[in-house]
């Protein structure tokens, strides 16, 4: 049971929550609780291990807060089962804060 390496990127200002680092490599076990590791686990991992404060600017009710779009390999996560998406090795997951300025 090998580990998964997930390439995570924050964009649209979200990187400011992560010391202004846009790109992160995150290692997760390929199984969690006897099931394939899902996107929700990645969100929890980021909340619990990459953040020390302002967690509510990223997570709300066990998912990303309103106003954040999630890309799974450049595809809207709504087309990939959202939280239930089963992560694969070398997936690229991007979290983008939607911008409103003009």
């Amino acid at each position: 049971m090998s580990d998964l390496t997930i390439n995570v990127e924050f964009s649209g200002g979200m990187e400011l929550l992560f010391k202004n680092e846009r790109k992160h490599k995150i290692t997760l076990p390929s199984q969690t609780n006897g099931e394939p590791t899902k996107l929700q686990q990645l969100i929890f991992h980021i909340r619990d291990h990459l953040m020390t404060e302002k967690k509510d600017l990223f997570v709300d009710n066990d998912t990303v807060r309103p106003g954040i779009l999630v890309l799974v390999n450049d595809v809207d996560w709504e087309l990939c089962e959202e939280l239930e998406y089963e992560l694969e090795d070398k997936d690229q997951i991007v979290f983008i804060s939607t911008l409103h300025g003009g």
């Binding site: 964009s11 649209g12 200002g13 979200m14 400011l16 929550l17 846009r22 509510d56 600017l57 709300d60 807060r65 309103p66 106003g67 779009l69 890309l71 450049d74 595809v75 809207d76 709504e78 087309l79 991007v94 983008i96 804060s97 939607t98 911008l99 409103h100 300025g101 003009g102």
Partner: protein, 270 residues
């Protein structure tokens, strides 16, 4: 596509020899996004362009709102933009609306146009423009910019999603950054504004594929641009779904829990 130029007069043919003639249409706000969008649409030979802006030109805007000049300080921005467009293309009809777009006037203003450009600067107006565009059946070319980042999408077009399909719930007010707080490099909204003009021209001329996508621009990232394949319209969307509940414009400030202008509000970063 280019056959449309066949009906032009000789003066026009000299000018639009390589260009498109387009039906009446429009609606950028003459800000950081609206300035370049309006300039390139007017120059491209759009038949009619409507510009809504209640604001006046201020010298602190000029670095990103390149349609205005120093001598126009204090002039209404929509009027200033009209003068600039007319100077480049005197044959473009430019209708100015020196007012705030509100739920009371939005439908009436928009109904005269074929397409809406969202160049606004706050969440509440973005929901309002979306709902108005859906209610009137107009495509919405949405642009936004902040600091070094920009985003672009075409909503409510050929079975693609509307803004509410993507964002059923408005973001918490404390997460919303504003230009006046967070600053912006002029070229960033410039890039997005011109791309809005381009997407609008593609839609109007039928050159747009209609494939729903979302363009993400980060001036300091590598790569600078990323394209996201977007969901289709959602059948349960309150605006554009099968059983819409948004049948008229609502109170968007209340809906978003924040004020609809960026005046004097000190927002936290992000």
């Amino acid at each position: 596509i280019l056959e449309k130029t066949a009906s032009l007069s000789n003066t026009e043919i000299k000018r639009y020899g390589r260009q498109l003639i387009l039906p009446k249409w429009g609606k950028p706000r003459a800000g950081g996004l609206g300035a370049p969008a309006a300039l390139y649409l007017g120059a491209a030979g759009i038949g009619k362009l409507g510009i809504v802006d209640h604001d006046d030109v201020d010298s602190s805007n000029l670095h990103r709102q390149v349609i205005h000049t120093e001598v126009k300080e204090g002039m209404n921005k929509a009027v200033s933009a009209k003068l600039a467009i007319k100077a480049i293309n005197s044959q473009c009809i430019v209708q100015t609306y020196p007012v705030s777009m509100e739920r009371s006037n939005a439908l009436e203003i928009i109904q005269d146009y074929d397409l809406v450009l969202d160049c606004t600067d706050n969440v509440a107006t973005r929901y309002m423009l979306n709902d108005a565009a859906v209610l009137l059946g107009k495509p919405l070319v949405s642009g936004s910019a902040l600091r070094y980042d920009g985003q672009l999408a075409v909503y409510n077009y050929q079975g693609g999603p509307c803004y509410r399909c993507l964002h059923p719930v408005p973001p918490p007010p404390e997460t919303v950054g504003r230009c006046s707080d967070n600053g912006v490099l002029g070229a960033v909204p410039g890039v997005i504004g011109i791309l809005q003009a381009l997407e609008a021209i593609k839609v109007i001329t039928g050159l747009h594929s209609g494939e729903p996508s979302f363009l993400i621009f980060s001036a300091l990232s590598i790569p600078m641009f990323r394209t996201m394949k977007l969901r289709n319209k959602k059948s349960n969307c309150p605006a554009c779904g099968d059983n819409p509940t948004i049948t008229h414009l609502i109170d968007y400030v209340e809906f978003c829990g924040s004020e609809a202008t960026d005046k004097g509000i000190s927002q936290s970063l992000l």
